[in-house]
């Protein structure tokens, strides 16, 4: 039996429990939400106002990390092999690229490789355990694809981003073999500013490829030498298709292994009123295919603004973080006579949170009737909104950024904020009707919607949450204390004796 004093003590404890239960700290929970992960900032491919011409691009790429210890380095580690072939297995790119990716200890290396795809082409990327490949990393700063003389330390012993993703492609410095391969694959090659890919379009009706250089003549452009850029994937357009007045474009890429698989598509608006063709059509499909679950995902939407008479499509999902062994990507585009483009210039680069690269963008608007090309805005650094790592990190060799990364990681272990125990007092009276984000679960079950909102109204939830938040701890810990008190006799007042 519990004596009167014990009962009073229990009542006191209960009162304190009630009072402190008001100090509900949801912060305990919020902090667990902050887990390292890859976060993608959704970029928009800049498409610029141009007179009558349209360029649509899609970038795809792989992202991975490699790391090795200094003792395992050998000369061949520096060479990355890339094999790219089309669906028939015919290689059209095969190149070993010097690629210093070593830093002290483990060099976390992320690379997003853009690919320019031919319709129905398949890019197979193969790499060994210490290397990787991507098609356009042909040069480093020196432009010869080899480490610069006299700066071995800089090139080898650091994760030098200028050596990581040198997209400055100059055909004059491309090896003869590679040029041959490219030229052989691309019968309509245009190489004044680099090289481009063939304008092959796939005719779904006939099941054949047609070479077409009348519309997107020179899509693939290359930026200035010191910039990091996405190369643009041309998707093929035709307004003279013999079947239905439009042709569906198809590009695909398949990878094996576990990748972060980003892609991005521009936000495009077109005005049919300014179109020279009265029958305007714009259909956009961007589809992710998850091989493990055989689910197609369509993150892109198409809309029509009746007021402005503008069609637009936007792809908000730009990456597919693959947890599986295979991931594929396909895109179909269908256009007819797109005569003007309203675009936004708020370019946001890809950026890996905790990772490591951002990329400048590059767009080349092409003239459908003229074979000349119009490189647009190849220097857009000022528009970047990098949060953690700036382009200076790239220019400075990125080693500092990596050091900062690990330093921050270690520092975070010993740096924390003291949670306010009374913040729960406010939390209990806060609005309980806010929607919650469930990106992890949504990704697991392939939900398009990653936000869940409560079914009950705000008033009900606010009241019930407060009541339950008080009484559940009361009951639970009340029984616990009661149990402790009864098992140890005069447990409660022991301290006073």
């Amino acid at each position: 039996m519990i004596g009167r004093s014990h009962k009073l003590t229990l009542v006191g404890i209960g009162a304190i429990t009630i009072a402190l239960s008001l100090c509900i700290s949801s912060q305990t929970y919020a902090t667990s939400h902050e887990i390292q992960g890859i976060q993608w900032y959704y970029p928009t491919v800049p498409l610029y106002e141009s007179s009558v011409y349209f360029s649509n691009t899609v970038d795809v790429g792989v992202n991975f990390e490699v790391g090795y210890s200094p003792s395992s380095l050998s000369s061949q580690d520096y060479f990355k092999r890339l094999d790219v072939s089309d669906t028939s297995g015919k290689p059209f790119l095969s190149q070993s690229v010097y690629h210093p990716i070593y830093s002290d200890g483990v060099c976390s290396y992320n690379s997003i490789a853009p690919y320019a795809l031919a319709p129905m082409g398949r890019i197979n990327v193969s790499y060994n355990t210490l290397s990787l490949g991507f098609p356009f990393a042909l040069n480093n700063n020196s432009g010869d694809g080899l480490p610069e003389s006299g700066s071995t330390q800089d090139n080898v012993l650091k994760c030098n981003p200028s050596g990581l993703i040198p997209y400055s492609v100059d055909t004059s410095s491309v090896s003869t073999d590679l040029k041959t391969v490219i030229d052989s694959f691309n019968p309509y090659n245009y190489s004044s500013n680099g090289f481009s890919f063939s304008r092959r379009r796939y005719d779904y009706e006939s099941g054949e490829f047609h070479y077409d250089d009348t519309f997107f003549s020179d899509i693939v452009g290359f930026p200035s030498q010191d910039s990091f850029s996405w190369l643009q994937l041309p998707l093929y357009n035709s307004d003279n298709d013999s079947i239905s007045g439009h042709v569906r474009m198809f590009s695909s890429v398949e990878f094996s292994g576990k990748f972060v698989f980003p892609f991005r598509v521009g936000s495009v608006s077109v005005n049919p009123a300014r179109s020279s063709n009265s029958s305007f059509d714009l259909v956009t499909y961007i589809i992710n295919y998850d091989y493990s679950s055989s689910i197609w995902r369509t993150p892109c939407t198409t809309s029509y603004n009746s007021q402005d008479q503008e069609y637009s499509f936007t792809c908000l999902e730009n990456s597919f973080h693959s947890q599986y062994d295979g991931i594929g990507f396909r895109a179909w585009y269908s256009y007819l006579d797109i005569t003007s483009i309203d675009s936004s210039n708020n370019l946001v680069p890809f950026f890996l949170n905790g990772g490591d690269f951002a990329f400048e963008d590059f767009v080349m608007i092409t003239d459908g009737d003229n074979t000349s090309s119009h490189p647009v805005n190849t220097n857009i650094r000022g528009k970047y909104q990098l949060s953690d790592i700036s382009l200076n990190d790239f220019e400075s060799g990125f080693d500092g950024a990596l050091d900062d990364h690990w330093a921050n990681y270690l520092a975070n272990l010993f740096t924390f904020n003291i949670t306010n125990p009374f913040s729960g007092l406010l939390a209990i009276f806060s609005d309980q009707s806010t929607c919650a984000s469930i990106p992890t679960i949504a990704g697991m079950i392939h939900l398009e919607e990653t936000t869940v909102c409560p079914w009950f109204d705000s008033q009900t939830r606010s009241i019930v949450t407060g009541v339950v938040s008080i009484f559940v701890p009361m009951l639970l810990f009340g029984f616990v204390i009661r149990w402790l008190g009864s098992s140890s006799g005069d447990y409660i007042d022991k301290g006073d004796k």
């Binding site: 100090c23 509900i24 700290s25 902090t31 667990s32 984000s437």
Partner: protein, 95 residues
């Protein structure tokens, strides 16, 4: 009479000290629980609670926060009582 007053003053000081110490421990323990929760509980648990809270008339996350707070409160209460008893023992021994 004077002894009774001094005893009361000492008791008040002890109570104040106990309250202050328990407050400090409340914050400390609450912070420690937060840290442990951060590393132990995966983030998906929060998402599961959010998902469950979607069709419940209350927020599970808030309740779980209440539980952790009460846990820290009880622990700090026990610590405070222990300190209180130690102070009493020390004062009694000194006198």
């Amino acid at each position: 009479m004077l002894g009774s007053i001094s005893s009361n003053v000492i008791s008040v000081v002890k109570f104040i000290a106990c309250i202050l110490v328990s407050g400090v421990f409340l914050v400390a323990i609450n912070t420690l629980i937060s840290l442990v929760t951060t590393f132990v509980i995966p983030p998906i648990v929060k998402e599961v609670f959010d998902l469950l809270s979607m069709f419940l008339p209350f927020n599970i996350g808030t309740i779980m926060g209440a539980l952790s707070t009460i846990l820290s409160a009880i622990l700090s209460f026990k610590v405070a009582r222990k300190i209180f008893s130690l102070i009493s023992w020390t004062i009694a021994s000194a006198s």
